[in-house]
């Protein structure tokens, strides 16, 4: 039984470490350790249930070990901040006053399109509509909108350049070519496409441009007509 105890602890800690390393992409509305418990406990319950040659006490022992670990982690969560950060992680601020924090996104194996998707789910369609956005430790997304954010999203923005790469389909939607956007980049002092973190444009010609490691800029291209 001591073997079952140690094996369960080892498997639990290994799965927990892997979940933490995978970042917030892999979890949703559960702390990493809660997700690990959910994953592991069903298997532990099923194996002795489905195989009569394995003593039931093996499953019970492993499940009791999971309970013990859960309670121990709850105690760490409550009483030890550094331990809580280690086990559950901490919120990651992915949008701040300077725009998108690329490094924070990468830490969680996320990219700009994932961030834009999360913003849309929360009802923010324009990157400049929020002052701050963050992924909570359990993987949910929160955003603090600008006071007048509703006026900033009159038309749906689409991604033209995502991490140094043109989205050909979206470029065509704007009835412009790549050279048009490269000129815009040059005008903003960006000579290389690979330095662009994101460039979005909405139907009215409002551009959100962020170069890697720089503050974002919002431009108005003064299109003659609204495209969508």
């Amino acid at each position: 039984m001591a073997i079952i105890f140690v094996r369960t602890v080892v498997i639990f800690i290994t799965v927990l470490i892997v979940m933490r390393l995978m970042g917030k992409r892999q979890i949703g509305e559960m702390q990493p350790y809660e997700l690990v418990i959910t994953l592991v406990i069903s298997e532990l319950a099923c194996i002795p249930m489905g195989d009569p040659s394995i003593p039931l006490v093996y499953g019970l022992m492993a499940i009791l070990t999971i309970y013990f670990l859960h309670q121990a982690i709850c105690l760490i969560d409550l009483k030890w901040n550094a331990g809580k950060k280690l086990v559950s992680g901490s919120p990651n601020i992915v949008i701040n006053k300077n725009g998108i924090d690329d490094a924070e996104l990468k830490k969680n194996n996320l990219d700009v399109s994932d961030l834009i998707e999360s913003l849309r789910i929360e009802g923010y369609f324009s990157l400049d509509a929020v002052d701050y956005a963050l992924y909570e430790s359990e993987g949910t997304f929160s955003a603090l909108p600008k006071p007048d954010y509703e006026n900033l999203q009159n038309s749906l923005p689409i991604i033209i350049i995502d991490e140094g790469q043109f989205d050909e389909k979206n470029v065509a939607l704007t009835k412009r070519d790549k050279a048009y956007y490269l000129d815009i980049l040059k005008g903003q002092g960006c000579d290389e496409l690979k330095n662009v973190l994101v460039l979005t444009v909405d139907g009215n010609g409002k551009v959100y441009l962020q170069q890697k490691g720089k503050k974002y800029v919002v431009l108005n291209l003064q299109w003659e007509e609204s495209l969508w």
Binding site: M1, A2, S53, P55, F68, L75, L78
Partner: protein, 125 residues
Amino acid sequence: MVKTLTSIFISFIVLFGISIFEQKFVNDTFALFTQAVLSLHDKTEAKTATFEDGTAIRSLWEEKKKSLQIWLPHTALQEVDYQLYEAVGFICVKDYESALPKIEVVLGMCDNIPYSYTFHIENIL
């Protein structure tokens, strides 16, 4: 907080207690069974073992197996069944030379099975 601490303490005590009990129970049971098998081995070597000696060992094993199955996988115990029954069969027809290797195997398993489930790093990994 107190509730959490209490639950941690109780669950640890239960886990620790079960582990200690299991190790002791399995070791003691196999130690007792080994003694019985050793005496059968000596008798078989001396060619004085009878069918009654064999069935007595078999009954002892059947009785012990019932409680061992709570703690050990049944497949680990089935091999003892197989070897022991064969040995008793050979003793029944007084084929001691064939029975002896089977009893040796049973004795080996009496050492190996409890060891496989004791707290050693090679058993954990």
